[in-house]
Amino acid sequence: MTAGVTKTVKKRLTKFLLSLIIVSIAVLLIVYNLRDNIVYFYSPSDLIEENLNRGQIIRLGGLVETDSVFNESESIFHFKVSDGNEHINVKYEGILPNLFAEDKGVVVEGIYMNDGRFIANKVLAKHDENYMPPEVIQTLKDSGNWQGQ
């Protein structure tokens, strides 16, 4: 009888310890990796006001300013991303998505350099012409330049 009980207790204890180990490893893994892989989103005003996150990969969203797109070469583009109040110069090398256009919403991912330029390594694809990234809508609302519903 007692032998049986200790056996059950032992088994339960082993299982408990095992699960504790797994859980703590998992928590460590999650926290550590989450911290390293978060990409923050900023509007042009945020970047200029707060003056932060240089040299770290971030996302920037807003409207592509009218008449601001020019090609340095066939695959290097310069354009301005604006929220109506401030704008940031963006340089991007690669393919622009089909729906990239002036005066339309855009989200770019890359690094905000010390000289105030934004070097993008990704221009995020959108699904259709009328789609506006929710962050961009928020950005425009915050800066008081939102004209949609």
């Binding site: 299982k15 699960s19 990796n33 622009l96 089909n98 789609y131």
Partner: protein, 633 residues
């Protein structure tokens, strides 16, 4: 005509509403209507919704724009198949499909005759309560049969990116998975009420769990395959919140199917099984809520009507609160002590269940964290795909390790040393094989080679025990499905890792006449021309694939311009070779003379899909194979 259909369809929905309300009588012990058999009411539910759904299809096919839903989501010039898929390519239609599958499962389940009639009655009652809730929802908040106030000449059309044959079947298959777990959930609640969660309970529910799981797997795979060739991003999984929303119930369901097997065999892990059944269905609901409510912006988001999101939230709350309350009261009475020893198959399965739950938490936190910071801290952020890859890799390694060993442990106490001895040939050969691989391809790092090594063992051991003839006759063993699925998972993992390591990508700005190059292949850009499609215009490029002076094949990537609604899409062109896919997609940036051409080499894609098919097949075999128990060692 339209008004007649309007009335008939709404009456049909009300009939379903009434019959499902009657069907819940066993929950409240109302004996008044006991003369109505459950299968009779289930048949009424099925036929009313089936006819309503048929009517909706009919409306889409004849393009009756006096119905708002048809106007908003269809167009008279759309090809037939997309008129059809337009039926569930929107919120209202997809909810009707959801209900159709709910009643379908209810109907099939009510047809069977079980020894324990009370289980069946209660299950059908719980299921009907859900049917009642959802029918109420579509009747008042999301009625697909709403007449529009204006007369429209033509409809708006379906988002062209959704105009794809695969997407016509992706939602129904995925829903069969999601909603299949509603039946499992109902059955768990019935078991909790009866306080009888045991071997019989497990053996009745087992085929249903496996069917639902197989459909869920197939639904996710179809979505992934669609993303691979339609989105043109060169990948098959992006850790997008929408994808994660379907992966989470899958992880819980995978743990659940193993628990059900243990319960059937050993009459233990009752609580786990119930918790997982509740969890799987709740995560299916959360998935639907996240995807449909507009919280996540994607092609899947139909409408951001707050009322609808609120309904699913309330429904979810009732499901979670009600079932866990019931569980808290009853759990003491359902648990049987676990008599198996520590080194046994059920321990292995339990460890892997913990690992699945850990992976689930990783995905859950990665998906929810950005929503939480946005909601509470007003800080927008994204969790990069690297988070998932890095966090899940070590977990997967331990997971595959236990996948190899636990099926080879007996249900009773086993000796580890005997097991290792019995596997020595496989272990040695695979070890040397992966050593050669790691020397030959120096691209793999330690964790990658470990996954490949373990997956290879998994494939070999699973195939060996799945197809070993026992005695003189080759008898189909009861664990055939399990071994096929496990081998499929091993093949899948090998393909995933190799694909991640060996994928190549190059972007060119190309003009007609250019020759592009990617890892030994030459791509000759021959011509580009305008082509008129069924409901779009397109720019079609012709690119020859050349290797060692020989023309192998021709790519025809396109850019399509749709007018209803106005959209541009890129159509990929993929050549499937046995070991790798060669993938071409092009873009036309505005105000530019050249075309951007993106070339991808994606190795092992065929093998990856093959692994997935094996996993699904394994699930279906387990569901349908009659258990003529030729028990394994």
């Amino acid at each position: 005509m339209s008004t007649t259909i309007y009335y008939i369809s709404n009456i049909l929905i009300i009939i379903c509403l009434a019959s499902s309300l009657l069907q819940t009588r066993y929950l409240f012990n109302i004996n008044k209507f006991n003369n109505l058999s459950i299968s009779f009411l289930a048949t009424i539910q099925l036929f009313s919704i089936l006819i309503a759904f048929g009517l909706l299809i009919y409306l889409f096919l004849i393009s009756d724009f006096s119905f708002e839903l048809v106007y908003l989501n269809s167009h008279s010039e759309k090809p037939l198949i997309y008129k059809l898929s337009g039926v569930w390519g929107n919120h209202e239609g997809s909810m009707l499909l959801w209900i159709l599958i709910l009643v379908l499962f209810n109907f099939f389940f009510s047809l069977f005759s079980f020894k324990r009639k009370i289980f069946q009655n209660l299950t059908v009652s719980v299921q009907s309560l859900m049917i009642f809730g959802f029918t109420l929802f579509i009747l008042f908040l999301s009625n697909p049969f709403k007449l529009s106030e204006n007369n429209y000449a033509d409809g708006i059309g379906l988002n062209p990116i959704l105009q794809d044959p695969l997407l016509a079947i992706h939602p129904p298959v995925l829903y069969l998975g999601y909603v299949g777990f509603s039946l499992v959930f109902s059955f768990a609640i019935a078991g909790l009420i009866c306080k009888e969660i045991d071997k019989t309970w497990a053996s009745i529910i087992k085929p249903w769990v496996f069917i639902a799981w197989s459909f869920l797997t197939a639904g996710i795979a179809l979505g992934s395959f669609w993303a691979y060739y339609e989105l043109g991003w060169g990948g098959y999984w992006f850790w997008d919140p929408v994808e994660n929303a379907s992966l989470m119930p899958w992880l819980a369901a995978t743990a659940l199917i193993h628990c059900v097997v243990v319960l059937e065999k050993k009459n233990t892990m009752q609580s786990w099984t119930i918790v997982l059944a509740i969890m799987t269905f709740s995560l299916s609901l959360i998935g639907t809520f996240l995807v449909r409510s507009g919280i996540l912006n994607s092609v899947h988001t139909f409408a951001s009507d707050p009322g609808r999101g609120l309904f699913i939230l309330i429904f979810l709350f009732i499901v979670l609160f009600g079932s866990f309350f019931l569980f808290a009261i009853q759990s003491e009475k359902i648990n049987k002590p676990d008599l198996s020893s520590l080194v046994s198959r059920s321990t292995g399965i339990q460890i892997n269940n913990w690992l699945l739950m850990t992976i689930l938490s990783v995905v859950f936190i990665g998906t929810m964290y950005p929503l939480a910071t946005d909601l509470f801290l007003n800080q927008s952020l994204t969790v990069g795909p690297q988070y998932y890859a890095i966090t899940i890799t070590p977990l997967i390694i331990i997971f595959i390790f236990f996948m190899i060993f636990s099926p080879r442990l007996g249900w009773k106490e086993s000796k580890l040393i005997n097991l290792i001895m019995s596997m020595r040939f496989i272990l040695i050969s695979v070890l040397s094989l992966s050593f050669i691989i790691s020397l030959y391809f120096d691209l793999f790092n330690l964790s990658e080679i470990t996954i490949i090594f373990l997956s290879l063992i998994l494939v070999f051991t699973s195939l060996k025990s799945g197809f070993r003839p026992s005695g003189k006759n080759t008898i189909i063993k009861s664990n055939l499905g399990q071994n096929i699925a496990h081998a499929g998972f091993g093949i899948f993992m090998i393909a995933v890792v190799s694909n991640a390591v060996y994928s190549k990508e190059k972007i060119y700005d190309a003009k007609v006449g250019d020759s592009l190059e990617l890892s030994g292949y030459i791509f000759n850009f021959k011509k580009i021309e305008q082509v008129e499609g069924a409901n779009f215009n397109s720019l079609k490029a012709y690119i020859d694939l050349e290797k060692e002076e020989k023309i192998l094949d021709e790519f025809t990537p396109e850019i399509r311009f749709y007018s209803d609604p106005p959209t541009i899409t890129s159509e990929t062109s993929i050549i499937h070779k046995f070991f790798s896919d060669i993938y071409v997609v092009m873009n036309v940036p505005q105000n530019q003379q050249s075309v951007s051409v993106r070339l991808h080499i994606k190795p092992f894609m065929n093998i990856l899909w093959f692994g997935v098919i094996m996993i699904i097949l394994g699930g279906l075999i387990t569901a349908f194979l009659k258990r003529t128990r030729i028990d394994e060692v």
